[in-house]
Subunit: 346 residues, 2 copies
DNA sequence: ACCTGGATTTACATCGTTGTAAAGACCGAG
DNA sequence: CTCGGTCTTTACAACGATGTAAATCCAGGT
């Protein structure tokens, strides 16, 4: 049976508003009354109707998080972090999968959930800056990742260029000469995603080492999953002179590449050293374990939630902020070799 | 700016209800009027307020899915399937992480989200049957997995006993004599989870082969993640006579075990054959690729959503249903050896 | 006993949408 | 030209909770 405030009120012999006051911890309620009302609430197992509350208050206590895919570990791990950070503010998170489709991202951003959500954290893949202009007015918005940096919207990301540069430096530091990169993308709408930034870092590192970028060593990928990494690695191994190190723009790409290397009987890192990006748990348990760039996911989540909180609190006057979070190069067996490191716990 | 029905109505010169009718595709609206109203809706970029609609209709169009952890690939993949199945019904999914905590599961089940959700799909870990009695009255509920089978609630799962039996048969079929199992749990509240069922299947298979269960070969685990599998494998390898095959109750356990085997320089499957459970994508790209039991996740999701739909439609009279979905033994390199199979795409 | 000001409690309107029922418009038949 | 019936449109009352402002209570000071 559905229990309303009025049911509780009837049982406790007080007005509806008094029950509401008790339920919300309003101060000026006589202890004796409070007790009686609370008993009624407990007896009837009253739960406030959030739709009604939300309608009245204009706030639902729900925020949305839209990511390209939940079954990509990086986003799954990020989601966990966001859910936890949001919980600290008493928020519930509605998770949406966009599959990287512009259309779906736009739907989400323009309030598909119509006032059901108080704010949105979006990890855009296909969306362009200008398409966001309109929706921004509706729902407080925070962007994750580098897709739309420096735009008119709050934004959190790692310094991808610098991270990619250091990752490549790490490979060069091992003495490798032919360092490939897996993650270049041709898709027009990837023009402002992470790909070009990590690419820039990679090329910058090579340049600093006096190496010219070899187009053969930068195969295109269709996505950032294992299968894409596997294909790219096959392409690289088909070269007359294959690489002796590879920087993969995601850990999944690296794991796909690793799989192909193992199939071909090539040793990692002796024949080919490998470093990824994201620090997903999988990489700690692969054989060999995967060196990687570890973005501070918790920091990303916390900042995103905090910024959203500020926006919702109405500090609209504040101009859009751009937050950079830390990252760390984590060398493991795929670059250092066996016995240098064990797996670190999850 | 917030746009309400009344704003649209004013602009189109009609009543609020007519706008509502147009927005909801009500039939008897003069084409001319419909057109004018639609134009106003588009101009003002009107979005219905779901809180209000939900309050009025008693339905929100949102269902919740509560899983133990989003960053465990099995649940991430299952979540994707549920989100897709729900979308076909026009439902949005609110994803909750319970971390396997009884308390959190109870909160979710007893309508923490207070009337915000129309139904709940719960994958329980800690909760007991009787604790659900009360909450059942509030929100339509469907359970996933075997934690609380045969109870008073709708329920979807694979036949874990049979699946485990066949997985073990597969190892025995390779001629292995010392087949270990990783996944036994001592926790009292795991008494009715998947562990005992898979355990029963394992023991049944051994019995049929005339082998007595060796307690040494069934180490306890604290959880079903990689780290737990790694620890258990270490325990097994410390035995005077280690196993020549291992059935892991989850793919993550198997991947943790695989990692340890590789560290010790043991060959899989030559020295130790390995089979997991869940068919997560990771297992297709590990080296060697992981043989596994593949539950029909899409079927699980579809059935769960369908059953929830029936409950929400009010067929309360129907007694609780118990649906078994299919599964498949997928042999890969970790039991068949190299070259027998390639990785199958994601 | 009466007044004052703060503590408590209450009535009422309101959030935006939609079901209900009734009013208004319009058509062809008689 | 009126009547009955269909098609359109509308007014109004909910849904459940809470902000507002007013009503009621009460203790302490005159």
């Amino acid at each position: 049976m559905v229990v309303r405030l009025s049911d509780v009120a009837a049982r406790a012999g007080v007005s509806v508003k008094t029950v509401s006051n008790v339920a919300n911890g309003y101060l000026h309620v006589k202890p004796e009354t409070r007790e009686r009302v609370q008993a009624a609430i407990d007896d009837l197992n009253y739960r406030p109707n959030l739709s009604a509350r939300s309608l009245r208050q204009g706030r639902s206590g729900v925020i949305a998080l839209a990511v390209p895919a939940l079954d990509m570990p990086y986003f799954a791990e990020l989601t966990r972090a966001v859910v936890e950070a949001a919980a600290e503010r008493g928020w519930t998170v509605l998770v949406d999968q966009t599959d990287g489709l512009r259309e779906r991202e736009l739907e989400v951003a323009s309030g598909l959930r119509g006032h059901l959500i108080d704010g949105l954290i979006l990890s855009p893949v296909g969306l362009e800056v200008d398409e966001l202009e309109r929706s921004k007015e509706d729902t407080p918005l925070v962007l994750l990742g580098e897709k739309i940096a420096g735009g008119p919207v709050d934004h959190v990301a790692v310094d991808n260029v610098e991270a990619a540069r250091l990752a490549t430096d790490h490979l060069l530091g091992l003495g490798r000469k032919r360092v490939a990169a897996i993650g270049y993308q041709a898709r027009a709408d990837a023009a402002s995603g992470v790909a070009p930034l990590r690419r820039r870092g990679y090329e910058r590192s090579l340049a600093a080492a006096g190496i010219t970028v070899d187009a053969e060593l930068t195969p295109q990928v269709a996505g950032y999953r294992r299968v894409d990494g596997a294909h790219a690695m096959e392409t690289l191994l088909a070269l007359p002179e294959p690489p002796d190190a590879v920087f993969c723009f995601s850990d999944l790409l690296a794991l796909g590449a690793l799989r192909v290397l193992a199939e071909r009987g090539l040793r990692v890192p002796e024949d080919v050293a490998l470093i990824g990006f994201d620090d997903i748990e999988d990489g700690r348990y692969s054989t060999p374990s995967l060196s990687t760039v570890a973005p501070a996911k918790d920091e990303i989540a916390r900042h995103a939630v905090d910024m959203l909180h500020d926006r919702i609190a109405g500090r609209d006057a504040v101009p859009a902020r751009d937050v950079r979070v830390g990252f760390e190069i984590v060398p493991r067996e795929s670059t250092l070799g066996r016995g240098q490191t064990g797996p670190s716990g999850p």
